[in-house]
């Protein structure tokens, strides 16, 4: 685990470029989303014990802490989705030479989603 993290950091540090940054972020966000998928299913799994347990679990997720995590997931999904589309454009449209500009679009899109999500988060927490 520690070796893996160190390997990822070295990979990015030694080959620093938009391409390797996009790859590393795609991998890290993908792993985070796999864990989120399990957590999401586990929360929905409270429905196996009936409506009371489900509503209690949903109620427990309304704190600012979980709202923040939820907002982070939205941004993580946005990056993974935009970069996934970028990878497909590069591969299927043969736009390898435009991959840096495409990465800028991906980052721009993810930052825009982050701005919107951040706004929603603060509006709800401060309300």
């Amino acid at each position: 685990m520690v070796a893996w993290v160190r390997g990822m950091i070295d990979e990015v540090r030694l080959n620093l470029s938009p391409g390797v940054l996009a790859w590393a972020l795609h991998r890290v966000t993908g792993i985070l989303l796999a864990f989120y998928l399990l957590a999401h299913l586990a929360v929905l799994g409270t429905s196996l014990g009936g409506a009371g347990g489900f509503d209690a679990a949903m109620g427990g997720l309304r704190s600012p802490f979980f709202l923040f995590l939820e907002s982070a997931i939205v941004v993580i999904v946005a990056y993974h989705m935009f970069n996934g589309v970028r990878v497909m454009i590069i591969e299927f449209a043969g736009l390898t030479r435009q991959q840096r500009q495409l990465f800028r679009l991906v980052v721009g899109g993810a930052v825009s989603v982050m701005a919107f999500t951040g706004w929603v988060f603060f509006a709800r927490v401060l309300a």
Partner: protein, 129 residues
């Protein structure tokens, strides 16, 4: 730092992953973009108030389209997640026994989670408050 050795190792790793896992990761990803957007828009923009058991059950019971949507969503997302994790694992494992362990683990966990997802979807549909 892009030496011939690195390139050869990358080719070997890509070869181990196979054509179909590569293509299906793109196809499932493209569909997931649609499913995730529809899911988030439905739950957070086309709906008022907090998410609760009666609302979830009502939406699912009212329409078989909705049930089918989530059944397909579960399969797609678990496939995409475990195919992705498999690719990462194969970057670090190259022995025959290791590759087999990765294959068995990914299939076993993936199938178990798809079944769990279906069970949960069924429970959500049947919720009564």
């Amino acid at each position: 730092m892009n030496t011939a050795g690195d390139a050869a190792r990358a080719d070997a790793a890509a070869g181990r992953r196979g054509f179909w896992p590569w293509l299906l990761q793109r196809v499932s990803g493209l569909f997931l973009a649609y499913f995730v957007i529809v899911h988030v828009v439905m739950l957070h923009f086309l709906r008022e108030g907090e998410i609760d058991a009666s609302g979830v059950a009502e939406r699912l019971r009212e329409s078989t389209t909705m049930q089918a949507f989530y059944a397909v969503f579960v399969v797609l997302v678990v496939f995409h997640a475990f195919n992705g994790l498999r690719g990462i694992a194969l970057d670090h494992v190259s022995s025959a026994s290791g590759t087999r362990a990765v294959r068995v683990t990914v299939w076993a966990l993936g199938l178990a989670i798809v079944i769990y997802g279906f069970v949960v979807l069924h429970a959500l549909t049947g919720l009564r408050s």
